[in-house]
Structures are given as structure tokens and as C-alpha cells.
Symmetry: C2
Subunit: 174 residues, 2 copies
């Protein structure tokens, strides 16, 4: 829990209340009770968490169509692989799309500086790589390769795309 | 790449082409070029990858509002913590909502059986826990606690919610 007393805690409470109210309106018009768990399009998307990217809208996906996995940078981490394995083995997906994007916060991030700052402030040096990368196109190819090469996900079609936050367009990495 | 010759590879190609076409339409009406990277509502959501859950719509979030992190089960894994750290330290979020849901594929999953089956078929026994859990309410509380207790995310307001795939409703875990 936050212990700030400068008004930010109140703002956070208000944001939570706003979400609860928005969800009450959403639930009133809810018509998706008939959906089942296995994704209709047998697709899993691994995308960045970026706030500007609406995966469903940018890819034309409806509720029930696809698993959507998201993390900072659309990294094919062990956890993303875990999610893909669950997706494929228990719910039948068989295609993966990796979607990174222009203007990513991890692109060119000075990771040592961020970690040093955190370690100083928290007095704790966590063994947690943040996943910064230097080149977007290389990065997308590397994530695709990692999924293609993992023993438990390698029988899948895997493709990578770059989402342009400036245009809304998806394009193949160079 | 898949090497199947029974038509599933063709179906996967068609699905990819459909996404490319849907995105071309999306990009034509694109009006979000003015958004900046830091989430407007200073919020990060950690939700399950489930295809039935549209996080933005269920929580009333617009593009630019929040980081959305998703994996199988809404688990507060090291990778989810990594994403939250990036979210908070480089892009200024300060509130976390964990959203798990009813009917999750990991709830009551016979994980040893799935892993044994995979190991047999791939002839590779990957050291990859899938994250199965036995009780939804306990699960949500445990993820919230993990984020609250991590040295690098502990100065945040963290809450957990259950999304009901049957009703569209968010509720606090019991």
C-alpha cells in the first residue's frame, strides 16, 4: 500500500473507483457469456505492454479470437514461452505473432543507470534484467527465433511484426 | 515454421493475411499519433492472456491510459515484475491491478500430465513450470502479495480482481 499523503493516494483510489464504475456499465451490456476458452483463430499474440497499442483493434481481433500475452518489450522470456506452451498444449493455438513497436521504452534504455538508481533507492540490488535492447528490427527477429528454437514451442508458425505508434501500421521487420 | 501438409498451414497463412488486411483498414482511420508513452492514468494491469477477456473494454480503458501486461494466469512471475519495474521506473505508473478470471485454463490443470506428455512428444524435458493453481481466490491474493513484497515494486498500490467470464463483471476476490 502507498503511504503517500500528497494526494496521489487519493487519485489512485479515484482511478480504482472509476474502473469499478466503468466495469459495471460494461457488465450491463455483456453478451459474451457464450465464448469458450480455446481461441477461435488458434492464434497467440506476444506484444509489448505499451499503453498506445490496442492489440485487438490494431490486429482486427474480436473477443474469443486469440490469446494475448504482453510484457515490457514483447520479449520471448521464459514466462512468455510458458504462456505459449499453455496456450498451445491446453487450448490448441498453433500460430504466434510477436508484435514489438516503434518508440519502445526499452529501446536504447540505459539499463545499468536505472538499476543502479533503483538499488540505491530501495537498498536492494535485485537480480532482475530489464530487457533493454539496441535495435528494434534485430530485437523482433531474435524473439521470433527464440520461440522457434524452444523445444516446447518449435512446431508452430511464428512471425514477427513491428507496430508503428506513429501510423497504427503493422509492418514486417527489416 | 510448420511443415504440416494437411491444410492447417494454409489456414494459418490465411489468418495472417486477414490480420494484415484488418490492420490496413485500422491504419487508415488511425488518430492516435499524438499519444505519448507514459500511461495517462499511471496504471499497470497484470491480466491473464485469456481470449475472452478484453482488458481495455472490461476496465473502461482508452488507448494511452495504462500498461497492459498479460500472461497465462495473470501470474506475478519475475517477468511480470520486470515489466512492472520498467512501467514504474521509466514511464511513471504507480498503481497495479491484477486481473485473474473464472474458467482459467490453469485452474486445476494437471500440470505433471501436460509436462510428461510434452516431454514424451518432444523428447525434451524443459525446466518450465506452467503455473497451474488450485484455488482462484487464493491465487489472486498470492499474486498481489508477491508484487507488494518485491523490493523493486513495493511502493505501489496493488489490488487484485476476479473477472467473471460468465457475466463480464469484475469483483474483489473472497
Amino acid at each position: 500500500m502507498t503511504s503517500e499523503s500528497d494526494g496521489t493516494a487519493i487519485a489512485d483510489e479515484e482511478e480504482y473507483d472509476r474502473i469499478v464504475a466503468a466495469n459495471a456499465r460494461y457488465a450491463k451490456g455483456f453478451a459474451l457469456a457464450g465464448l469458450t476458452a480455446p481461441p477461435r483463430r488458434r492464434l497467440a499474440v506476444l506484444a509489448c505492454m505499451d499503453a498506445r497499442l490496442n492489440v485487438e483493434e490494431a490486429l482486427g481481433l474480436a473477443p474469443g479470437d486469440a490469446h494475448i500475452i504482453r510484457n515490457a518489450g514483447a520479449l520471448a522470456t521464459d514466462d512468455a514461452i510458458r504462456s505459449l506452451v499453455v496456450s498451445q498444449q491446453t487450448l490448441g493455438t498453433r500460430q504466434v505473432l510477436v508484435v514489438a513497436h516503434t518508440g519502445c521504452g526499452l529501446l536504447g534504455l540505459d539499463e545499468p543507470a536505472v538499476r543502479r538508481n533503483l538499488a540505491d533507492r530501495t537498498r536492494h540490488d535485485a537480480a532482475l534484467a530489464l530487457g533493454a535492447f539496441a535495435d528494434l528490427e534485430t530485437h523482433v527477429h531474435a524473439q521470433v527465433e527464440r520461440i522457434r528454437e524452444h523445444a516446447w514451442t518449435r512446431d508452430t508458425l511464428v512471425r514477427g511484426l513491428v507496430y508503428e505508434v506513429e501510423t497504427g501500421r503493422l509492418r514486417e521487420p527489416a
